[in-house]
């Protein structure tokens, strides 16, 4: 883990607020020259603090009207091919997030779909047919807020 000083944290806060800022704009926001800001951003990237950048698209405008959180419990623990399940579920393009969790479920998925009948198709044909799937619970997302990284 690298040591972060106040300037690094200020840079991360600026980038968390707007990931589209370039080194010059980040520098202006935190009071550094462009090359100095660039060097620090590079260092944060190389240390893995900044893991990458994502394009943020309006899902609804692109025809993806529903996002569903799916909790999956595996049927028979112990004898299962966990890797086979994980490989298959991560390969489904509509499944954006796969998390192995401890609790009432074993896995947590986030699925995007065009509408509810499209989601039903993905759930029945792609998810319920995966090896080892037991109980499944779906919750449709109505609204989302605050989705911002950390407490830097």
């Amino acid at each position: 883990m690298i040591d972060l000083d106040d300037l690094d944290r200020a840079i991360l806060r600026a980038l968390a607020a707007d990931g589209g800022l370039n080194a010059k704009q980040v520098g202006e926001a935190v009071g550094l020259s462009q090359p100095a800001a660039w060097r620090r951003i590079r260092r944060l990237e190389e240390a893995g603090v900044i893991r990458g950048r994502r394009l943020v698209l309006d899902r609804a405008k692109l025809g993806f009207g529903v996002t569903v959180y799916v909790g999956v419990r595996l049927a028979a623990k112990g004898r299962l091919d966990l890797e086979g399940f994980e490989r298959a579920v991560t390969a489904i393009p509509e499944v954006q997030v796969v998390q192995h969790v401890l609790g009432v479920f074993d896995y947590r998925l986030r699925v995007v779909a065009r509408d509810l009948s499209d989601f039903e198709r993905i759930l029945r044909r792609r998810i319920m047919t995966l090896p080892g799937v037991g109980a499944v619970e779906s919750n449709v997302m109505l609204s989302e807020e605050k989705d911002q990284p950390p407490l830097v």
Binding site: R54, L55, D58, L62
Partner: protein, 153 residues
């Protein structure tokens, strides 16, 4: 908003794959001239199809090792249950994201903590103090196998 065509989708696929690319490189991969590509990207930004870019920050590198997903059912006999609960949750810095849901669970939220002791403190002093909770269930993150915002365009 103008209807998106196959070329727009091609551009978005390239940009989703590698959001750091310069316009000239996006154009090259989408087999377009730089000018035509730039005009289409501008249009999609104006129309709000492209909302921006997000930086992915590794919480572990910042010393936050624990992530817990809380699934909350609210006491809906109180008319303002949702508003009161959300206002309280929104104010907590350790709550990273909040979603309202349609299903068995009303609200889910991601909580980030340095370690389990820190999590326990947040849970006891801040989360359980939020109003109108009827039931709360926790899932603790063991590992993240996939995490993307990519849409299957």
């Amino acid at each position: 908003m103008q209807v998106l065509d196959d070329i727009d989708r091609r551009i978005l696929r390239v940009m989703q794959e590698d959001p750091g690319l310069a316009v000239a490189d996006v154009a090259g991969r989408a087999r377009l001239s730089t000018g035509a590509c730039a005009r289409r990207i501008d249009r999609m930004e104006r129309d709000g199809v492209i909302l921006g870019r997000r930086v992915e920050i590794d919480r572990r590198a910042l010393g936050y090792e624990v992530r817990v997903f809380l699934r909350v059912t609210l006491d809906k006999t109180t008319p303002r249950a949702f508003d009161d609960f959300l206002a309280g949750a929104r104010a907590l810095p350790e709550v990273e994201s909040i979603q309202t849901l349609l299903g068995r669970v009303d609200v889910r939220m991601d909580v980030t903590a340095r370690d389990l002791a820190h999590y326990q403190e947040i849970y006891r002093t801040k989360i359980l103090a939020l109003p109108h909770i009827a039931e709360i269930e926790a899932l603790m993150l063991v590992s993240e196998l996939k995490s993307t915002d990519r849409l299957p365009l």
